[in-house]
């Protein structure tokens, strides 16, 4: 996973509440067995017209926002399905940070597994950032994970909160599985204890019907 330290780029406004993962990445394209190159299907239904041409009204089809690295969203961003294809497609497009008043839990988790930083901020502040993001080429923000600050286009700095563990993993680009494997002894000890307490759960799926 790529480290996330600081990010400077154009922020695109996406003021849609309850933006679901079907809208971010339609189910029909989930048939891929790959996790790369998925940006071609990102926001498919709203980004393209039925003849396949770009919808000029959609923000990411407009000049300064084609290179957006940050999305400013609305409440309950990423609700719905658990599909990690949604963050994979965002990442493939170049989005490394999403700022919204609230996120759906699974999408929020999935972002961290892919080097994307989701930032939850109070609604009034996100509304101000949404206005900033409407400034086109001037909608440049800097996100500094180390200091947990967002620099607005006018230079004002905003603080954001984040779990220490998630911050640590993202800053260092750590692989979760590798970290967990360092706890092999604890996992083994837990399994021995669980085998005594709940023996019927062991060997279960292989025992067969």
């Amino acid at each position: 996973m790529e480290k996330f330290t600081t990010l400077t780029g154009v922020a695109a406004p996406l003021p849609i509440i309850n933006l679901d993962t079907d809208k971010i990445f339609p189910a029909i394209y989930l048939k891929t067995i790959k996790r790369t190159g998925l940006s071609q299907w990102l926001f498919q239904e709203i980004r393209f017209r039925s003849d396949g041409s770009e919808n000029p009204d959609f923000v990411l089809n407009q000049a300064p926002y084609r290179n957006a690295k940050i999305l400013i969203g609305a409440d309950n961003f990423g609700c719905g399905s658990s599909r990690e294809h949604a963050p994979w497609a965002l990442l493939d497009f170049g989005i490394r940070c999403v700022i919204a008043p609230s996120f759906a839990d699974i999408f929020y988790n999935n972002c961290f597994k892919n080097g994307i930083l989701p930032i939850a901020l109070p609604k009034e502040i996100v509304e101000e950032l949404m206005e900033d993001a409407k400034k086109g080429a001037n909608a440049v923000m800097t996100v500094d994970l180390g200091t947990q600050t967002i620099s607005r286009p006018d230079g004002e700095k905003l603080h954001f909160e984040l779990d220490a563990f998630r911050k640590h993993c993202l800053l260092n680009g750590l692989d979760d599985i590798g970290l967990t494997e360092q706890k092999a002894a604890e996992i083994g000890a837990y399994e021995e204890k669980a085998r005594l307490a709940r023996p019927w759960q062991f060997g279960m799926t292989q025992r067969g019907a």
Partner: protein
Amino acid sequence: MAAPRTLFDKIWDDHVIAAQGEGAYLIYIDLHLIHEVTTPQAFEGLKLADRKVRRPDATMAVADHNVPTSDRSRGIDDPDSKLQVDTLERNVKEFGVPYFPVDSINQGIVHIIGPEQGLSQPGMTIVCGDSHTATHGAVGALAFGIGTSEVEHVLATQTLIQAPAKNMLIEVNGGLGTGVSPKDVILAVIGKIGTAGGTGHVFEYAGSTFRDMSMEGRMTVCNMSIEAGARAGLVAPDETTIAYLMGRPYVPKGAAWEQAVAYWRTLPSDPGAKYDKEAHLDAADIAPHVTWGTSPQDVSPITGRVPDPAQVDDSLKRAAMQRSLEYMALSPNTRLVDVPVQRVFIGSCTNSRIEDLRAAAAIAKGRRVAGGVRALVVPGSGLVKHQAEEEGLDRIFLEAGFEWREPGCSMCMSMNADKVMNGERVASTSNRNFEGRQGKNAKTHLMGPAMAAAAAVTGRLTDVRQLG
């Protein structure tokens, strides 16, 4: 004396292995269900890192999203769907993971077969790369959906790194009225608290309505917890749960069964346990519901009308409602019972169990699917299909002009060939009415199985209570 704990607290405490940094814990996973859509990249990751599946004996695989629901002897036509199913079959073989093949009577939607086979048991932690994993909470298991990176993490380590959820009590009391189903209960809950009402929380469904509900009804309710933002929803195990599980293929036998039951009986929330949030509903107030928009919270009793965005103050909410109604091609103040449908889908992990099919068949019996309507009945598993055929439900549906299909996810998300045609309106027993989910420009109205059957025979959204 220890503080009183909720059902969720007890399962959580029994599964914490170690703290994993501030606010994060390593928890153990008892059962990992996998399907073809969200696992190929996870197995690829294991191969690249030369890792094994730690507990194949706690893992079960099935293909459900891409499988055809028509004649399966011809295989899968769509090359991408076929590749995904073939990839799963290759991976389970290579990694030694138990698998229900597509031609097995045990095959079905992953969330149907877990409880049906007795794999899903009280007190377990259960995960699957699928947000409707909450379904298994009906047996009193902590069951939630995860992304593909987490699928890989569980395959490799049988653990997950999680922050503890908060507890939210959803209490409903009283008997359900005639024609009111568990689907209506959960739609009413989502309508009340909103699609983000449960974010960060695990629901515990309590009160006499759930106590008196069958296991299958509880599964319908828990299934849609995610549509209210909660990753998991639980019902405390009780005599109904134990009676349901007894004798199922994967539950323990003999002395081990007694030991398991004794453990399960310790799980219900202690008296005085605290919840971070609560919502209370009265069953007597719940009518048959349908959705009118493109979020599950866009829901109304069938006796209602399409809402008017002009009445909404918040600008983003108004914009969302306008967009919804434009997509759904509905005018404000239209009576819901005046909305015509061209398609009906009875199936999905929400409503494809035997009780659902019985409820739909009771309405279909002696009636005909209305002209211009195509109606599909897709059982949730091979076993459900077999039982329905034993009971003659297939004959009732076929004689009424419904199509009777092979089990799978089907038109809920249209990854197989079962698609709603461009712009058609569908009465659907599935769980999401998102734009484009059931097909391009498909206009989805969510409802219970009897309501969907009623829409099929009248050709419009219908109050099932009017059909008698």
